[in-house]
Symmetry: C2
Subunit: 188 residues, 2 copies
């Protein structure tokens, strides 16, 4: 797997796995996960209709891989957070920067339910979230506070991505709106 140029050597695409993932993310971003078809992705990549399945087993396998990648991206995004509010802002920015990942991550009915790689990535991201909460809250109600913080950021991101916040947000960057929103709640 050295040849990564755009060559179409018939066989050995170069990095078909990445190509399919990228195409899938593009489709999901614009038309949602329901519009995704393995055969369509194969056509985009210029390969035979069964080629994608070789890398992802089946449709659910592809979506599981996307969710896993998403949780890992989220984990590394949260790792650099400076404080709980920044973690929230980063959470929202992650959702707007990677809307396809985000959508798939939180639709478990699209995944292979027992995939170990997904479970690990998920728990890695959860750890980063709990770290951010722990360093900002006294340990007594840390668990409840964590749920509250996660709910707030997740709800905001979800509502924004589902076009339920378009007019209230207007032209402002959603992360900024979220930031001032936390300011209102915690009067920091």
């Amino acid at each position: 797997m050295t040849r990564s140029t755009g060559s179409r050597d018939a066989y050995h695409h170069g990095d078909l796995r990445r190509a399919v993932l990228t195409a899938a993310l593009d489709v999901i971003r614009t038309d949602g996960p329901a519009a995704l078809s393995l055969r369509g992705l194969a056509r985009r990549a210029g390969v035979s209709h069964a080629a994608p399945a070789h890398h992802f087993k089946d449709r659910a396998g592809l979506l599981t891989a996307i969710a896993t990648e998403g949780f890992d991206l989220l984990a590394s995004t949260l790792a650099d957070a400076a404080g709980l509010r920044d973690a929230g802002v980063r959470y929202v920015r992650f959702a707007t920067d990677h809307p396809a990942h985000f959508q798939v991550m939180f639709q478990p009915d699209l995944h292979h339910p027992t995939d170990p790689a997904l479970a690990e990535a998920k728990s890695r991201a959860g750890d980063r979230l709990r770290e951010a909460v722990a360093e900002a809250v006294d340990t007594d109600d840390a668990r409840l506070a964590g749920i509250a913080a996660w709910s707030l950021a997740h709800g905001f991101a979800t509502l924004f991505l589902t076009h339920n916040l378009t007019d209230p947000v207007g032209d402002r960057a959603p992360e900024d709106v979220f930031s001032s929103l936390t300011g209102l709640l915690f009067r920091t």
Copy 2:
């Protein structure tokens, strides 16, 4: 359309529309919207494979009808709310009581994007939400406070339905957890 008994008169099912909706909600609750098939619903109802399409036009039409019904249910649930916190609790309870509706309501890629009935139901529910916020917050930051409240309740409900709060919540009713969560945030 008087005959609503369980008669299977070959023709004139009685209330096929309701039967299909109910079956669809059942499928969505257990296996998610992706598992929904018009032909499967037709089999459940004991009618021909094209019968459901007559009532809903197509698959997206069925899901649009479910979303519309969901927003109307939500609107009437919020109408009776006593205060903002109660509205939040009711929002969460709605999500857990009607998980299939809730899922479909917030996946716009499954809907007919311009359906007027859906848009109206959506705005009715939005009105109830804004009412609940307006009577609890001074008008200055009502808009932002509304987004905050909605985000909190919506995020909590979404995370719970996607099985991301199972261990933190444990056996407690999710609405109770949400209630104590708002207590922690607003130290009421």
